[in-house]
């Protein structure tokens, strides 16, 4: 009888240990490893433009060398920072993006297309064409998330590409000469990234301010992009 008590206790103990250990799942695979997605309440709580992520990293103290050791930012976050600083997002400002969003309203662009435009800053119609062509396919995908669809199976079904109609010339058909106006507007509102500045012949309007990253506010609110559902 004593032995059965010991066995009972032992089985309870191992069960309790197993429960505690399962809350902290770690395995020794090569990083990065895949963790089970535990109860993600809202898989997509808002899309972020490259500028917003850059702004967030800057507000936490990321900068170019040599202050890297002091800032409380992980090495992997610094890699993201390095990538973003060389992209078109490095000298955008919150105001310039808001201005672009305002002015894009009359062109009736999809959210995915606007996101593409802000992230790449196309300077010619040929660059804007792929931004608009296949972003149309994913518009349904982006919208479905913003309507709080939490079922992953539903999401994967919607993200299958819609049958391709003849939308290769979609951008020309939809907008015609409007494309030139759109490009013109993008070039004036968004500051060019450093590597585009050498190749661009048009002089950028003097009204733009180059963002001074350290002076941006540190509030962590997302811009109208995400809340504008």
């Amino acid at each position: 009888m004593y032995q059965s008590r010991v066995d009972q206790y032992r089985s309870w103990f191992t069960h309790a240990c197993r429960c505690l250990r399962s809350n902290n799942i770690q395995s020794s695979l090569v990083s990065p490893l895949v963790l089970p997605s535990d109860e993600d309440k809202k898989a997509n709580a808002g899309a972020l433009t490259n500028f917003e992520v850059l702004d967030f990293l800057r507000s936490r103290g990321a900068a170019k060398d040599p202050t890297r050791v002091i800032a409380p930012i992980a090495a992997s976050e610094f890699k993201v920072y390095d990538y973003l600083v060389e992209s078109a997002a490095c000298n955008q400002t919150r105001e310039s993006i808001n201005e672009l969003l305002e002015k894009c309203k009359k062109y009736d662009l999809a959210k995915a297309e606007i996101l593409n435009i802000i992230n790449i800053r196309p300077a010619s119609p040929v660059e804007i064409d792929p931004a608009m062509y296949q972003a149309m396919k994913s518009e349904q995908y982006v919208k479905s998330f913003q309507e709080n669809v939490e079922d992953i199976a539903h999401y994967t079904k919607l993200s299958q590409p819609v049958p391709t109609k003849e939308i290769i010339e979609e951008s020309e058909k939809r907008m015609g000469e409007g494309i030139e106006d759109l490009i013109e507007m993008v070039i004036t509102v968004l500051p060019p990234p450093p590597n585009q500045m050498n190749t661009e012949e048009e002089v950028v309007a003097g009204d733009e301010e180059i963002a001074d990253g350290e002076q941006t506010t540190t509030e962590t609110t997302t811009t109208t992009m995400a809340t504008e559902n």
């Binding site: 809350n23 990065p32 992209s87 790449i120 972003a135 962590t220």
Partner: protein, 192 residues
């Protein structure tokens, strides 16, 4: 390219962190748990955006640490289908190209999604690599590693973890992006 994901997780706070203020301790623990890791169907976690709520603080019997239920938002890297991204060339072989973003390397452009028509030539400098060349209107445009390559995301897949791996294969990639160069405006930036 980046999304915010709202996540709720039950977190065990190790006792050696008890002297730190709660927010910092939990943030540090979340970062060590999620940063630079791939979450299935959510993408690669870049950083902890903010902590919305912390609940709990119970101590389970037999354990020295307290357990919290934390609700927080993570910045996830998860490009949508149709997004245009500029990346650098990392490797180029007979199966296609491999591009890298610095923080994410598993971007593949398979042969059938390269600009049509194109062919590959063995690289004179590096024996195991080839150079892809686009033949357009009798002109040749090589894809060399000099400038950035703009591609469009075709699909993002999360292959399941393999049970066993042969010893010499590449390390397992939990998130793979398939890209396409087969459209106007895509390919090395210098082409356009």
């Amino acid at each position: 390219m980046f999304f915010l994901s709202l996540i709720e997780h039950t977190l065990r706070l190790p006792p050696h962190l008890l002297d730190l203020p709660l927010n910092e301790a939990i943030k540090g623990e979340l970062e060590s748990l999620f940063l630079d890791k791939v979450l299935a169907n959510l993408g690669l976690c870049i950083s902890v955006y903010d902590i919305r709520s912390i609940d709990g603080g119970f101590v389970f019997p037999g354990d020295g640490a307290s357990t919290y239920t934390v609700e927080f938002r993570l910045v996830m890297f998860r490009p949508f289908v149709g997004e245009i991204i500029t990346a650098k060339l990392k490797e180029s072989d007979a199966n296609g190209l491999q591009l890298s973003l610095g923080f994410f390397d598993d971007i593949y452009i398979p042969v059938h999604l390269m600009p049509n028509p194109c062919h590959c030539e063995p690289d004179p400098e590096n024996k195991s690599q080839v150079i892809w060349i686009w033949d357009y209107q009798e002109q040749k445009f090589p894809i060399d590693g000099l400038d950035e390559i703009r591609f469009q995301v075709q699909s993002v897949s999360y292959p399941p973890i393999p049970v066993e791996q042969p010893k010499e294969s590449k390390p397992f990639a939990p998130m793979m992006i398939m890209g396409s160069l087969d459209y106007d405006g895509l390919g090395p930036v210098s082409w356009w």
